[in-house]
């Protein structure tokens, strides 16, 4: 497992923010919420979740919009949005450095930022990515070189309660058996991520009290 580092509350403006580094991939996440909602996005029974993904160079393209929708789906699953009707929860993800496994890093940063903002969640989410090279060997949290030469990549998101799959995103071709292997590998990896969340929050609380 590659090294994972996090700082909570790096930014003063957002209600919750986190700077997360997994391996050499770095993502900054900021949460505002619940805040005033734009009239066209108003929902009367729950909060609308808006996700904004910013690449560090250039305008957001199709790929970035795709990340946005993945993260939005995950956030909607994890947040108890019925508690905040007629409001919106704004999630902003900023790519800082991309060396493979960006989505997984973004989802984890998002979860930590949500935790630090104190918004209600049904469960925590942990994302783990793995890549399969041309010999069919699976690499957990691969670096950029493995990521680029992989025949297939898998990103899974698990919940913290019963370790169900919240999201699964794959690219490339693979057999169903290989998928199962990748799933098991990532599920094991997710335990470490949840453990990491615990230490981060414990540190944060000990700083405060």
């Amino acid at each position: 497992m590659s090294s994972i580092n996090c700082k909570l509350g790096v930014l003063s403006r957002p209600d919750g923010s986190a700077l997360l580094t997994q391996g050499e991939t770095t993502v900054m996440a900021g949460i505002y919420g619940p805040i005033e909602v734009k009239s066209q996005k108003l929902l009367i029974n729950k909060a609308s979740v808006e996700v904004c993904y910013r690449p560090k160079a250039g305008l957001p393209g199709i790929g970035d919009k795709f990340y946005e929708s993945i993260i939005q789906n995950i956030c909607e699953a994890a947040l108890v949005s019925v508690l905040y009707p007629r409001s919106s929860i704004l999630v902003v993800i900023q790519e800082m450095q991309n060396y493979g496994g960006l989505i997984a890093c973004a989802v984890n940063a998002c979860c930590l930022a949500l935790l630090s903002s104190g918004i209600d969640m049904k469960f925590l989410i942990a994302s783990v990515s793995c890549a399969m090279d041309n010999q069919g060997i699976l690499h957990l949290n691969p670096d950029k070189i493995i990521w680029q030469n992989a025949t297939a990549t898998f990103v899974f998101v698990f919940d913290s309660t019963v370790q169900r799959i919240v999201a699964s995103h794959t690219s490339g071709s693979f057999s169903s058996l290989q998928y199962q292997d990748a799933l098991d590998l990532c599920k094991n990896g997710s335990k470490e991520v949840f453990e990491f969340y615990k230490t981060v929050i414990a540190q944060e609380i000990s700083h405060e009290s």
């Binding site: 090294s3 700082k7 900054m28 805040i35 560090k56 450095q97």
Partner: protein
Amino acid sequence: MAKIRESIISNCEKKFLIKGLEEHRRLDGRAFDEFRELHIEFSKDWGCCYVTLGKTAVLAQVSCEIQQPKSSRPSEGILIINVELSPMSAPHFEPGRQSELSVQLNRILEKCIKDSKAVDLESLCIKVNEKVWALKVNVNVLNHEGNIADCASIAALSALAHFRRPDISSDGEEIVVHTYAQRDPIPTAVHHYPVCVTYAMFNEGAVILADPTLLEEGVADAHLMIGLNAYKELCGLHLGGNALMTPQSILQCTSKAAARASVVIQQIKEALEKDQERRNQNKEFIFEDSVQFDKAASASNLGFYLDKWSTKQQKKRKNVKHVKEESGMENSTEDSNKGTVESFGKGSAVLLPPEDDNNWKTSSDEESESDIIPDDCLIKGDDKEYNKSKTKKKKLIK
């Protein structure tokens, strides 16, 4: 289209700020011509840097592509500067939309960096009239706590100075772009380092504040943004708002800004050197931010200790009365119950309050009063630091 409204500054906030300024105090305890702490960090990618000025945070990234030059300037490369106000910095900023602020910031940075010819555009030419490099500087504002212009100009300039474009070779007809692994990339030629220095004016130019925070920016009558390089050459001047200023005060500001600019440029150069060292050592690149992190932690800790003192104070008073009524305790032990001193960041220390069981030993109200002003709890380190933290602590208490 409906928009999330910007938070409004209330009248009492305004009055409080201005009253403070009349007493020569700023809300964050800085002197009028004092700037917030600047921190520059480079990423593993070429031309990417993360700059924080106080709490304002900005991420800049330079990218390049081959384009056809402008027909009016066939032998010059292209430099585009784009400031993006991300909704992360404040919820009322909309992504991908040009607001008045972002247009203004773009123009100021263009004036400061592009129009002052800081980057050698001719060296970006590949083939006259056909192909030149176009450098694009993307500045993402991550946290809006005032004075984006300074922070963004420092970030854009550091990113440009740090950036390396891929090497090319040409046989007259075809141009081959080599990857970073194939050939060493080429640094950008930067002639001089122009940075932006901002001042905010209050009371028709009577009060001039350096590096205004968000609140100060909102209350100020006018802003003066001065672009300067290390040779004290003016690279841009922008006066916004409605201050009736005398020419003298503008000249004064400019000379003050020149001193600041040279300090900033020195810091940029040091950061670049440090980055080079790190690359030579092949260290792992993550946004360490260690300095930044320690500061954030200590700032929150400071508040925590101060809170503790004030609650102690209340407790003490009750106890003191109690003691007085009963026996009029002696005060000979006061020296031993001053608590323990722990070192705390650079050049300062914190006096931890004594344990609960002996907190009533001070015998008069006056003494307990003097106890909470932690003059005696500061260990004199670096004199400047000492004074700064001292005034800060005092202010926080008051």
